[in-house]
Structure formats: C-alpha cells, structure tokens
C-alpha cells in the first residue's frame, strides 16, 4: 500500500462544521489541521468551494461516515468513486472511516452500526478495506466505534479485531478515545486495558469529543453525541493514549449544538497542553 508523506503536525485540529466555514476562512484558526466529513462535500456548490480555499492554508483530514466498511453486501462502488474524486481534489493528509456498517440491501441507515467480532466479519471488513485502499491508492485510518450493544457470537475483542485488520490490510488506526470510554461503560470493558491492547505503531490519529449520559430502563448509558466539552475521565484516558502512542494529530469533534469556533479552539489548546504534559511525563 502506498504511504503518503504526512506533513500534518502531531498537534490538535478541529472538525470543520458548516456554521464555521466563513469564520475559519477569514481568521485561519491556529490549529494543526481541519477535518471534514466527506459526505458533506460530494455535491458541488459554495460549501465545497470554501473547503477548497481552506485547503490551501491548512492540513486536512477527510473523514468518511458512509463507506460502510462492515457491509456484508460490499462497498458501494458509486459512492466510493465520489469519495475518491473528493480525495483526489483535496489531497488530504489523512483519510479515515469507521469500523461499522450503515448500508444493507441498498438502504443507507445513517448510523455507525455495530458488528459482531467474528472471523466472518473480519473477512468482510478486510475485503472492504482492501477495496477502498485500492481505489484511493493510500492507506485508510480505521476508527473504533462507540457501541451500545455487543453480540453473543463475538469471539474477538475490539482491539484484537482492529489489530487483525492492520495486519491483513496495512490500514492504520484512528483511536477515538471518547468512543473507548463510551463503549467501555456501555458494553463493559476496561478502557485502559483496551488502549494497552491496541497496536501502538498503527495509531495515526486520535479523536476527542464529549458524550451525554442518558437513561435506559433505569440504567445509565453513555451516548456519543459529540455535543459537549471533553470530560475529565476522557482527558485522563487521552493522557494515557499519548503516553503509549506518542504525540499524534488529535481532533476535537463537535456535531450536536455546535458552539462558537472559539470554544473548539479552547478545547484544541487544552488537548495540546494535555498531550505535552503526558509526553513530558513519559520522557522523564
């Protein structure tokens, strides 16, 4: 698999949302990179033109939410072709997708749906990642999902499954620290042990976000809504991730009740401080 030169600094970036497009264009936020959702820019129009102008001054990550790498039906070639055209146009430093599925029988279900971690699923996802990497001519970063349910037929842990994908396909990993925390609480595993089990050398990006605490039949369930600041427990897990993986490009994601751009920049600045402290602690 081709490895592209990565000129993206191992500092914090922000998810670029529609309401911030004009402000980002005028003030050039001092972040390492901007991440866009591929599916928001596959048509034409003013939004894509603004992103293209921003690309001139910023490192960029294209984050897919709709390739459905876990679909037993395989990859939608039409959609992949459109993503490939966007990647070709923007030449981003990073391209990522999720360990999840959203398409079955030609219907797109608009969620990152869970997979049982079995040999069958591994074969399906590996085949689909191969397909995407062949068309994009670059390695894909695979993000661990936030989970609300596990399956009885699962035979592998999620880190084992991700490590097997790395070994089989040459993909790299996008470690979403908030998702580890959310899934650990919801389906019952130790987030620290999960981090320790990931293949560290493969981790090329980290995601951070806030989550909500909801009630399900009288029990607490964490919802990965990207609608608040990163919580203290997730900052703590992030420091552990940096200590183990080293400094990595780290994204602040915020998708629900998106706040002013300055709030995202504050969170990004905090991520840089937390990462520097964790890396320094590791070095001494």
């Amino acid at each position: 698999m081709l490895e592209i030169a990565s000129d993206i600094a191992a500092r914090a970036g922000i998810g670029l949302r529609a309401r911030h497009l004009d402000e980002a264009a005028s003030q050039a936020p001092p972040v390492s990179f901007l991440e866009i959702h591929a599916e928001n820019y596959l048509g034409g129009g003013p939004a894509l033109r603004k992103v293209e102008r921003l690309r001139a001054d910023h490192a960029m990550s294209v984050h897919g939410v709709g390739l459905s790498l876990g679909s037993a039906d395989g990859i939608d070639a039409h959609h992949l072709g459109r993503v490939a055209a966007l990647v070709d146009r923007l030449q981003p430093q990073l391209v990522s997708e999720h360990l999840a599925w959203s398409v079955v029988g030609g219907a797109y279900l608009n969620d990152l749906l869970p997979l049982p971690y079995t040999a069958e699923s591994l074969a399906v996802v590996a085949r689909n990642i191969d397909c995407v990497q062949t068309v994009l001519k670059r390695s894909l970063l695979i993000e661990n999902p936030s989970s609300y349910v596990a399956f009885v037929q699962t035979t592998m842990t999620e880190p084992e499954f991700l490590a097997a994908l790395v070994a089989r396909t040459g993909c790299r990993l996008l470690c979403d620290v908030n998702n580890i925390f959310v899934s650990g609480s919801n389906v019952g595993f130790d987030p620290a042990a999960y981090l320790d089990a990931l293949p560290a050398a493969a981790v090329a990006e980290i995601h951070l976000a806030g989550h909500a605490c909801n009630d399900a039949d009288g029990e607490t369930i964490l919802i990965d809504d990207h609608g608040s600041r990163v919580c203290d427990a997730v900052w703590s897990l992030y420091r552990r991730a940096v200590a183990r993986f080293g400094l990595r490009p780290t994204l602040i994601e915020w998708d629900t009740d998106v706040p002013a751009l300055d709030v995202l920049l504050e969170e990004a600045a905090r991520a840089d401080r937390e990462a520097a402290a964790a890396a320094a602690g590791q070095a001494t």
Partner: protein, 256 residues
C-alpha cells in the same frame, strides 16, 4: 445460541431500525444490566431522529409551516417506507413532496406539497455542480441566422416550478422575507430556482418567460421554443423574456 450470518444480521437490523420487531436480532444481542431491546432501541431512535433532522434541514419551509411535531410524523412515515439510497443526506428526499401530497393529515394544506417541491429545488440548486451561465454577450456573438437553431438548456441546478398557490410568498414568510400575510387565493406562480455564488435563490417569471423556459428545458431549439411560448403567451416580448432568463443565469453556456 443463534449465530446469524452477517448478511442476515444486517437485514434484521435494518428491519428493526425501520420499526419492525426482530426476535432473531434480540436473541443475538447481549442483554445484561440493560436488556437487549433497550440497547437496540438506541440505534432506532438515532436513525429516525437524525434522518428526520436531515429532511427538516432540506425541507425547512415545510417544517416551518407545519411545526416540528407534524413534520416528524410525515418524516417518520416516509423514512420507514423510503430510507435513503446513499449516505449523502442532501440528496435524500426526492420522493418526499409526493409523499406529502398523499399524507392524509395534510389534506387541509393543499399547497404543502408544492412548498416541498420548492424546498427540494432550492436544495438541488445549492448543491449543483459549478457550470458557467450563458451571457447576453455570448448570445449576441451568434450570427442572427443561426439563433433559431440554437439548443439552449437549463444550467445545472436550475428548475422551473409552477404552483396554483403563491409559494414564493409562503417561502418568504417563513424565511424572514418582507411578507406579513399570504393570500392563498392570490393566484398561481411560475418560479425559477437557480444557483448563485454563495447560495440558491428563486424568482417569479411572467407567463411568457416561463413558457420559453419550459420549451427550452423540453429540448426544443430556440426557434421552436419561441414559437411554443408565443402559442401560450401571444404578446410575448422575446427579447425581454430571453433577457430575463439570461439575467438569472438560467441557461447553460453551451461551450465552444
């Protein structure tokens, strides 16, 4: 212990998300302190609310007219019957105006489906690929004896709409326009919806310009289109009608 093949699990998950009870899916999901059905409902809730929000963003005038609850009722029925065919949510909802036309509870709002068609046209115009518009200067450079044979086509993203209701005023009323009231009996409108540099817009056309635009969109030559438009609007001022269409960027530059 059931071990559904992945393809079957995904089919069952789809049926669950769109509202059907799926005992095989529940049986393959781990239930512990939180029962499996409650866990699976989280996904259903997210899919239905996020797709309702996507339709609400695209059909913002419809939502403003009927309110969030009424809108959600129409949206959820539509989602269950016609889930998206792809992950680009701005492309979801082509069938929603017709679904609204057939929604029993919306019969007292006969203009609502046309408002939805206007929202959809604006959405298409906003996301249309860039394409240069035919300019008056370009057209003036065509030798007069060749004008009648020209094939002039709508620019990508340009849509002509007709309604028996003043949907342009309904749109303006709900988007901060300079409109306080709408007289539903004020008569119909012909609207041109078109992309601009930073957004999409709508403009009303008189009967002659609308007939000319419709005839061009139906792939007639300019000469044929003028003849058809004059059959509809005998006092058509061809120069004015064509000038109006060019000023709105309605026609594509045919290239060299």
């Amino acid at each position: 212990m059931s071990a559904l093949p992945l393809a079957d699990l995904q089919q069952a998950f789809r049926a669950h998300l769109l509202g059907a009870e799926q005992t095989a899916l529940v049986a393959t999901a781990v239930g512990d302190r939180i029962p499996a059905p409650a866990r699976l409902r989280i996904y259903r809730h997210h899919v239905l609310t996020s797709l309702t929000a996507a339709l609400g963003a695209t059909f913002s005038t419809v939502r403003a007219v009927v309110g969030d609850d009424f809108f959600a009722g129409m949206a959820r029925a539509f989602i269950a019957r016609s889930p998206p065919a792809g992950p680009v949510l701005s492309e979801y909802g082509a069938g929603f105006p017709d679904a609204i036309a057939g929604w029993p509870q919306a019969r007292s709002l006969p203009y609502l489906a046309d408002v939805a068609r206007l929202d959809w046209a604006l959405n298409l115009a906003y996301t249309a690929p860039d394409a240069p518009a035919l300019t008056a200067a370009r057209l003036a450079a065509v030798p007069p004896d060749q004008l009648g044979g020209l094939s002039l086509r709508p620019r990508p993203g340009v849509v002509l709409l007709h309604s028996r209701y003043p949907i342009d005023r309904i749109w303006a009323l709900n988007h901060g326009g300079d409109v306080d009231t709408v007289d539903l009996d004020a008569g119909g409108v012909s609207l041109l919806v078109f992309p601009r540099i930073d957004d999409a817009a709508l403009a009303s056309l008189d009967a002659g310009a609308a007939a000319l635009m419709a005839a061009l969109a139906a792939e007639n030559t300019l000469g044929e289109a003028v003849a058809q438009a004059m059959a509809v609007a005998p006092d058509l001022d061809v120069g004015a009608a064509l000038g109006r269409l060019l000023a709105l960027g309605a026609l594509a530059d045919p290239g060299p």
